[in-house]
Structures are given as structure tokens and as C-alpha cells.
């Protein structure tokens, strides 16, 4: 039971609306867990429940082995960083960092020590006597992180901390957070709707939908072996190609094409039964040009639209009457109207049950 944070059978409903349903989640000490999902999936709600900012309807929450279900946020041993920074606007940065500690009755020396450490770590020493209104967004968020830092706790909670920043600052601060985690080795729970953030930061990602965790796994597993259509579609950009077909005897039939998928790793360990399926292929796993001949599955199609994106180019075509995108190096990109041969390897693709949408 050496989990840092542990959620057991957690449910939350507002009236008749179930926001979270019998959720179970264990987080190891020092783990960086990202809660990812579209808005309204309950990821922030879950975080707020862990923080104690929302009262749960059912279930329990443990932090560092202690049942904190009924504890006040301040007694849970957590620090939290918010999307809007939530700095106290009338107080200087120093006061923002120290206010909670003063209220908790810490000695002045101790407070100063902690502020010094946190501000050194976040490089906000020059800002200590400024008011939040005179800081840039990135600076504000550093201060907000600092405020969580001085609490000297085991668990940090981040609620979409980078969403209000522009793209450049976002990637800078992302790295910063990662560095911070490596240095502090605290447990961190991080809520975001941005898959890049999730992929880059997380030890494990929990993908949520409608108050239910769909898949909880390391980023590469989630990327390569999504458990269902939702996860497969949510992760990756441009998103995975889905084509309806029929699986029988190691072959998937799509429109006029028969693809041999014997190389595919079935969840059951082997063959699988005959059924209607959806074949999922990531655009970046599609091969054209010289390497195409070595691919187990191949077909010919006409390129309809080409979107150059600098280093890469996305090309749009059709497979079995459905849109099929592929991503390729710009140097070898096809032309619009060009008929080319397209190939992919079933081992890198996903096959889902057409009815349930789960991976087979």
C-alpha cells in the first residue's frame, strides 16, 4: 500500500449528474501523472476532489497512506497551481508566498528560508517585491508554482497551469516543470487537455471521458496501443485513420482491399474471431515511396489534398471510400492528383471491435 495518492471507488454527482463514477486510481511516490481528456470529462473535478476543494459523494481518498477524505485541503499535504494563477493581487510576490505560512504560524526565519529556496529554484528573486499586476503571465505562473513549493509538501497538483500562456511561453514553462519534477522528485498530478503536454511530461497518463478513466498507462503505450476508439482518436495529431471493415481468418477486408494482418498483436494473444472491425492506422505510420514495397499491407490511391507544414506534409486521400491521411517528409511528399502506392504495417496499427469500440 505504498501509494502516494490513492483514490478508491470515488464518485461525485451534482444532483442527478454523475461527474465521476466509482473511480479507482493509485499513484506511486514521485510519479508524474497527467489527467488528460476533453473539457467536461471530469479531470479537473477529480483533481479538486483530491485537493479537498470538492466534497465527494462516495468513496475515499488517501494521500501518503492517510485517509484524507474528510480533511481540509490545507491538512492534506498538497500544493496546488491554477490555470488563472490565482495570485492574491493586492499582495507583493513575497507576501503571496508567505501569507499561507504566516497564517499557519511558521517562524519568520523558516518562512524566509523557504521563500529563498523556492525563488532561487524558479528564478523569481528579482520579482519578490513586485505586485502580480506588474508581472508577465509566465512570471505569474512561476510565482504560483512558488506558492505551492513553499508549502514543502509531497504532492503537487496542477490544474491546467499553462493554458493561459501563449505557445512559446508554454513550451518553456513545460520544460521548467519537468526539470522541477526531476529535481524535487515529488508526486505530481497534472490536469491538461493538451496532449503534447501530457506526452512530454507524464510518467503515466490517465485518459478520461465522461467521468471514467479510459486508459491509464505510460505515454508510449497509450500512443501505440490505445485501448479503444476514443483514446485512439484523442491522442495523435492529425488523428488516427479509422476504416470500417470485416476481420476473418487473419485478414481485414475493407471495400475491395484485403489486408493480411497476421502480424498484428491481438489482445487475446492470438487469432481472434470473425467480426466487424474498425482498422486504425496512424498517419505517421503510413509509408510511401521507396519503403512501401516492404510493407505487409498496400493499396493504391489518388492524392486529393496536400498540406505542407514545413518539415512534414500531410496528404489526404481515400481508402475504401473513407478519408485517409498520411504524414510524410516534405522532401518526398506526393503531388495533388498523383496516384501512388501506400503501405502500412499491421503491427503498428490498431484493430477495434466495431460494436464496442475496444481494441481486439
Amino acid at each position: 500500500m505504498e501509494h502516494s495518492v490513492s483514490v478508491k471507488d470515488l464518485s461525485l454527482n451534482f444532483g442527478a449528474v454523475n461527474v465521476l463514477q466509482s473511480m479507482n486510481l493509485d499513484i506511486a511516490p514521485g510519479e508524474f501523472l497527467v489527467l488528460l481528456g476533453p473539457s467536461g470529462c471530469g479531470k479537473s473535478t477529480l483533481l479538486n476532489c483530491i485537493a479537498g476543494l470538492l466534497d465527494v459523494s462516495d468513496g475515499q481518498i488517501f494521500i501518503s497512506g492517510k485517509n484524507v477524505t474528510w480533511e481540509e485541503p490545507k491538512d492534506r499535504g498538497i500544493g496546488m497551481v491554477f490555470q488563472s494563477y490565482a495570485l492574491y493581487p493586492q499582495m507583493s510576490v513575497r507576501k503571496n508566498l508567505s501569507f499561507g505560512l504566516q497564517v499557519a504560524g511558521f517562524k519568520k526565519e523558516e518562512i524566509d528560508k523557504r521563500i529563498a529556496r523556492a525563488s532561487e529554484m524558479l528564478q523569481i528573486e528579482p520579482l519578490l517585491d513586485r505586485k502580480p499586476a506588474n508581472l508577465s503571465g509566465g512570471q505569474r505562473q512561476r510565482v504560483a508554482i512558488g506558492r505551492a513549493l513553499v508549502r514543502d509538501v509531497d504532492v503537487f497538483l496542477f490544474d491546467e497551469p499553462l493554458s493561459n500562456l501563449d505557445a512559446k511561453l508554454r513550451s518553456d514553462l513545460r520544460v521548467e516543470i519537468k526539470r522541477l519534477h526531476q529535481r524535487l522528485k515529488n508526486t505530481m498530478i497534472y490536469v491538461t487537455h493538451d496532449q503534447i503536454e501530457a506526452m512530454t511530461l507524464a510518467d503515466r497518463i490517465a485518459i478520461m471521458k465522461s467521468g471514467v478513466i479510459q486508459q491509464l498507462d505510460a505515454p508510449n503505450v497509450i500512443y501505440n496501443k490505445p485501448v479503444n476508439l476514443f483514446v485512439a482518436g484523442f491522442i495523435g495529431s492529425p488523428s488516427m485513420n479509422f476504416i470500417n471493415g470485416r476481420f476473418e481468418n487473419g485478414t481485414v477486408t475493407l471495400g475491395g482491399h484485403n489486408f493480411d494482418v497476421s502480424r498484428y498483436e491481438f489482445e487475446t494473444g492470438q487469432g481472434g474471431t470473425a467480426q466487424d472491425v474498425i482498422l486504425g492506422v496512424r498517419p505517421e505510420h503510413v509509408v510511401i515511396g521507396p519503403g512501401v514495397e516492404s510493407q505487409p499491407c498496400q493499396f493504391e490511391a489518388e492524392i486529393e489534398i496536400v498540406e505542407p507544414m514545413g518539415a512534414e506534409t500531410v496528404a489526404w486521400t481515400k481508402l475504401a471510400g473513407e478519408t485517409f491521411t498520411l504524414r510524410t517528409n516534405s522532401e518526398t511528399a506526393p503531388q495533388t492528383g498523383q496516384k501512388i502506392r501506400i503501405g502500412f504495417d499491421p503491427i503498428r496499427s490498431s484493430i477495434f471491435d466495431a460494436q464496442s469500440g475496444t481494441r481486439i
Partner: protein, 312 residues
């Protein structure tokens, strides 16, 4: 944009005529006319025999006016202070996830829908010593109970204040509650995580954040206080004696019954003074903050978004 500014659309001019007429006719010409009359010895009808500052000299020797001025400060100070404190307390308490919030809000705000005449009449009735609150409490057995502020000239003004607060505090509550609700919810969460007690959060964090709502409520109160007329007429007619006289009442009395328009207009001009001072101060701050913003502006280009909007 630029083209629109320069070329005057004749239709726009026509559309704006009533406003221009009001602005110039009423708020410039009428005010100047009033000020000019204050330097004349006009009695009931306007005349233009100028007598310098004689009316002002007389005004500041007139006990009725001096009492009016004292009263407006007293009334202004107490009613605004109570209004703010009571209004903020109500707003804070309403913010505690009260089950019957709508019902309470309805109750606190309904007096504002009533006219000040109605307010004055009702409270006068409640404060009637023989048939009102005092006698009701005495009938319960507390025979020494006294509550008849309006019968005593030293306390009458406080009776008026009680009625005024009853009428207006709901508005202050509504404005401040809107201000409280406008405070970023995450600030509240942050404070809870920091372990800051609720009352401290209200006092040290949200209160300073609500400066805008407070200024709004305060300005609204100030304007109401300077204008107070109906309440006095309905409640005390300025009495007992002249103990609840107010500048607004003074002006009306002198332009009609007392037939001394010159003096009345001198008083009206004095009433205008605090408003002009208030506006001047406001303009000064607006100018200063513009200048400061221009100075810092370049350095912190990203500033004005989130924080700036919320704090203002």
C-alpha cells in the same frame, strides 16, 4: 474608423439632438444660470441686481444652513459607513452557500423598489412612540423600553439614517455580492489550499480585490446622500425643530415658500461643490493612471489581460 470620425452624418446629428440639448441646455446653461442667480438678490422671481458674495456670507451665518451641512455630513458618514459594512456583511454571509439564497436576496432588496416617500412614511409610523415599536415592546412587558428617535432633536437624524439604510443596503449588498462572485474562484481555492481561514480570505484577499464594486457602491451612496429630499419630507419635514434639515430641502424651501432664490441658489452652488471636487479627484486619478500605464505599458505589454481586468 477615421473617416467616420471626421465626417458628421447629418442623421447622427439629428439623432443626438435631444442629448446635446439636454447636456448643454440643462447641465450647462441651467447650472450657470443657478450660479449667476446666487450672486443676485433674487427673491421669488429672478432678477439681476448683483450683490457679490452677500448671499454666501449670509448663507454661512444661517443656522438652518449650518445645521443642514452638519446633518449631511452626519447622515452621509453614518449611512454610507453602515451601508458599506452591513452591505458587505450581508454579501459575505449570502456567499456561504445559503440554501435559500434567492429568498434572502429578494427580502434584502425589495425595499429598494419602494419609493423614499413610502420608506419615510412607514418608518415614521414604526418610530411613533405611542403606537409604534416602542408601545409594542412595552405591551410585551418591558415598560421602560424607549425607542422614539424622531421625537428628540438629538436622535432624529439617526432615525432617518435607519430608514435610509433599510431602503438602500440591499443595493450595496447586490453590488458587493456581484463583486464577490466576480472574484476568480481559483483564488478561493488557492486560499483554501494555503489554509487561510475564511474570514481572513474575505478581509485580506477578496476585499482588496473588490475595489471596483466598492467604489461603485460608494459613488452611488454619495449621489443619493447629497440628493436626500423625499425621505426627509415624508419622515420628519426637517424636524423636530430644524434638526433634520438637509441642503436639498433648504434649496427647495428657499426657491418657493421662503422666497429667497438668491440664497437658495447660493446653497445649490455649495451642493455642487463636493460633486465637482469628487469628479476632479476621479479625473486626476484617471489621468495619473493613464500616464503611468503609458510609462510602464511598453515594458509589460502582456499585463492588461487577466489581472488588470479583474482588479479594476
Amino acid at each position: 474608423m477615421a473617416r467616420r470620425r471626421i465626417k458628421i452624418n447629418p442623421m447622427a446629428l439629428i439623432g443626438l439632438t435631444p442629448m446635446i440639448a439636454t447636456a448643454v441646455g440643462v447641465f450647462v446653461i441651467c447650472i450657470i444660470y443657478s450660479i449667476v442667480l446666487s450672486f443676485t438678490n433674487s427673491r421669488l422671481l429672478p432678477n439681476f441686481e448683483f450683490i457679490g458674495f452677500a448671499q454666501y456670507e449670509r448663507l454661512w451665518e444661517t443656522p438652518r444652513w449650518l445645521i443642514s451641512v452638519r446633518n449631511i455630513w452626519l447622515f452621509g458618514f453614518f449611512s454610507i459607513a453602515f451601508n458599506m459594512i452591513f452591505g458587505y456583511l450581508l454579501a459575505v454571509f449570502m456567499d456561504q452557500r445559503i440554501k435559500q439564497e434567492d429568498a434572502f436576496r429578494t427580502i434584502f432588496l425589495y425595499p429598494f423598489a419602494m419609493s423614499l416617500v413610502v420608506t419615510g412614511l412607514v418608518w415614521q409610523w414604526i418610530m411613533d412612540p405611542n403606537l409604534g415599536f416602542q408601545s409594542a415592546v412595552r405591551n410585551m412587558g418591558f415598560t421602560d423600553f424607549r425607542f422614539s428617535p424622531l421625537t428628540n432633536e438629538a436622535t432624529a437624524i439617526y432615525g432617518v439614517i435607519v430608514a435610509g439604510i433599510w431602503n438602500g443596503v440591499g443595493v450595496t449588498m447586490a453590488i458587493l455580492l456581484a463583486g464577490l462572485r466576480g472574484v476568480d474562484e481559483e483564488v478561493w481555492k488557492a486560499a483554501r489550499v494555503d489554509g487561510i481561514p475564511t474570514w481572513k480570505t474575505y478581509l485580506f484577499i477578496t476585499l482588496p480585490m473588490m475595489r471596483g464594486a466598492f467604489i461603485t457602491a460608494f459613488v452611488l451612496q454619495c449621489v443619493g446622500v447629497v440628493r436626500v429630499y423625499d425621505l426627509i419630507i415624508a419622515m420628519t419635514q426637517g424636524g423636530p425643530g430644524i434638526s433634520t434639515q438637509m441642503p436639498a430641502v433648504f434649496v427647495i424651501q428657499h426657491i418657493s415658500g421662503r422666497s429667497n432664490v438668491g440664497l437658495g441658489m447660493a446653497a445649490a452652488t455649495m451642493m455642487l461643490l463636493p460633486i465637482i471636487v469628487l469628479i476632479a479627484i476621479q479625473q486626476y486619478f484617471a489621468w495619473r493612471s493613464r500616464r503611468r500605464a503609458a510609462g510602464i505599458g511598453a515594458a509589460v505589454a502582456t499585463l492588461p489581460q487577466a489581472q488588470g481586468v479583474k482588479a479594476s
